[in-house]
Amino acid sequence: MQSNAALEYDYSLAKKFTFLTILFGFLGMLVGTIIAAQLAFPELNYLLGEYGTFSRLRPIHTNTVIFGFTVSGVFATWFYFGQRVLKVSIAESRFLMVLGNIQFWLYFLGALAATVSLLLGISASKEYAQYEWPFDIVVVLVWVLWGINMMGLIGIRREKALYISVWYYLACFLGIAMLYLFNNMEIPTYFTSGGLGNPLHSVSMYAGTNDALVQWWYGHNAVAFGFTVPIVGMIYYFLPKESGQAIYSYKLSLLSFWGLMFVYLWAGSHHLLWSTVPDWMQTMGSAFSVVLILPSWGSAINMLLTMKGEWNQLTENPLIKFMVLASTFYMLSTIEGPIQAIKSVNAIAHFTDWIPGHVHDGVLGWVAFMIMASIFHMAPRMFKKELYSKKLMEAQFWLQTTAVVLYFTSMWIAGITQGMMWRAVDEYGNLMYSFIDTVTVLHPYYTIRALSGVMYLTGFIMFAYNIYKTMVAGKELSQEPQFRTPMA
């Protein structure tokens, strides 16, 4: 069956999920910018009645960027490169095509419904697991459909050995499946009370400290298997593909992958330091977090070394810039996290803005940069058009890079300041600051962060516009580019 003729791949599903990535990315970041502004200017809480308060909108931000933007990005890239590295067109199986389309519509409609439910305040109040049980069922169905599709495509592959990116996507599928199921075990109260009350309401299977343990075993690893594992998979495909360089070291890929798989799960209790979980678990979480620097940096270093000697590509191709900077921000957040996981540092960092700072150098500088770079790479190949404007890409790159730097530096200073103010004592040994002092002092930093949100969002709109113009006005390509993406 091994033929050398170029295969025609079917990108219809990749395109559909790309549109969703852009839609949810825009919505999620818009809401992010709004909530950032609300902390600087509280009057903005009252634009939408009870539906517009910071507290209602915050989960909409997190869920839209995670389950909307990032997950669609993962689906879009899977339906793109999955075919290519397995050397099989998804259109060769009608079954997989139909399944993929069901997955798409169920996912799209489910995501909209779940967003409305959060707006209405229907929430289980566990972070990143706010959806009530009926929406959980939709999430699980979508995930299972994706799993079947992935396994199916692997089943009919022509390329015997699985490429590194596929390892990571498989791990993403398995990890999230396990975590999501266990953390969302809940009992709908309507059915256990003889039909009383709201059928959407449920109670968690776990209580108190146990619930906390399960939640952060989930929460931490949702980050691991949602914001890290598939994104590493992305860069392993798109960076070498765009640059035409071979991966620096197979051994490094291998050790980083299995190291990450083994170590990541242990670190979850770093979200529960100084809490009521037993000391030994906290210690494990702390220690393994520090170990985690290495497998994380392994992948980043592998990527940077892949670009050895390619300085001119870095300066000339904005796509390479996005990806190299993404690796760097990945390195930043995967050393910052471990340092914050040291108990003494966590005594200050936990509960403060330093944590959202850490979060956003990861998600803005790494996750969103990689997803946008991947779409820039895929677009000309999916639409058979040249990218619309290189100049716009350059401008977007610098705007967003500045935005990320402003975001994390302002939150870093805000967080450390606030953490230290909470602890500070006056000359007599009594608390030096009332709580409200530690709030008002943050105003300038909240303002800077809101500004950075506006900048990043503007960059994202430039990105969306560039892709749109590529589709409608890009120069037709007669032939698919092998490596470097053509751009006008």
């Binding site: 990890g175 009370s193 003889g194 678990m281 005594a347």
Partner: protein
Amino acid sequence: MFHWLEKNPFFFASAISIVISFAGLIEIVPNFSKAARPLVDLKPRTVLELAGKEVYKKDNCIACHSQLIRPFKSETDRYGKYSLSGEYAYDRPFLWGSKRTGPDLHRVGNYRTTDWHEAHMKNPSKIVPGSIMPAYKHQFTNVADIETAYAEAVTVRNVFHTPYGPEFKSGKAAWEAHKPKVLADAKKIADEMQDEGVKKMVAEGKVPEIVALIAYLNSLK
């Protein structure tokens, strides 16, 4: 060996599953029964308080408030005794939070009162100048869902043997029998409040969200 694995997706996926399952098994499972043990004199929340907890979840106060006092002098000076595992034994879900944009609330019932909460929830920055907490005026007119709160009490009693009394039975009749008690609790709170609308609603047998929420906040001790 690894090359072999990379050519066998089934074993590859199994290997991943095994490697990632370790940690959960070793770290989470052993503690499960121990951490679930309640303090000796811990009482489960009343139906009104549970309804208030639902308001807390609905308006997502956890976005800004923690309920976990860490064992540092600076925290126990500010908020009171550090939190104990046994105090949370009936909390489903746990509401520790991960961000303190506002102060910790685990023992706020000790040092804030009904009338203060009323004024504060209506307009925080009037009471605490510089506050960035949103005003929750809608809680004064929205009706709390006490029936669902009752359903929750019955559920945790049936499924997890949370010590609610034998009168917490399934079904409409049992609920109708319990409801007056909830309304009486609500009236006690409303009596300490000033808002006329709230008093009127309670007199009509409806519980405004703010009343349930304050009952919940007062129970945090």
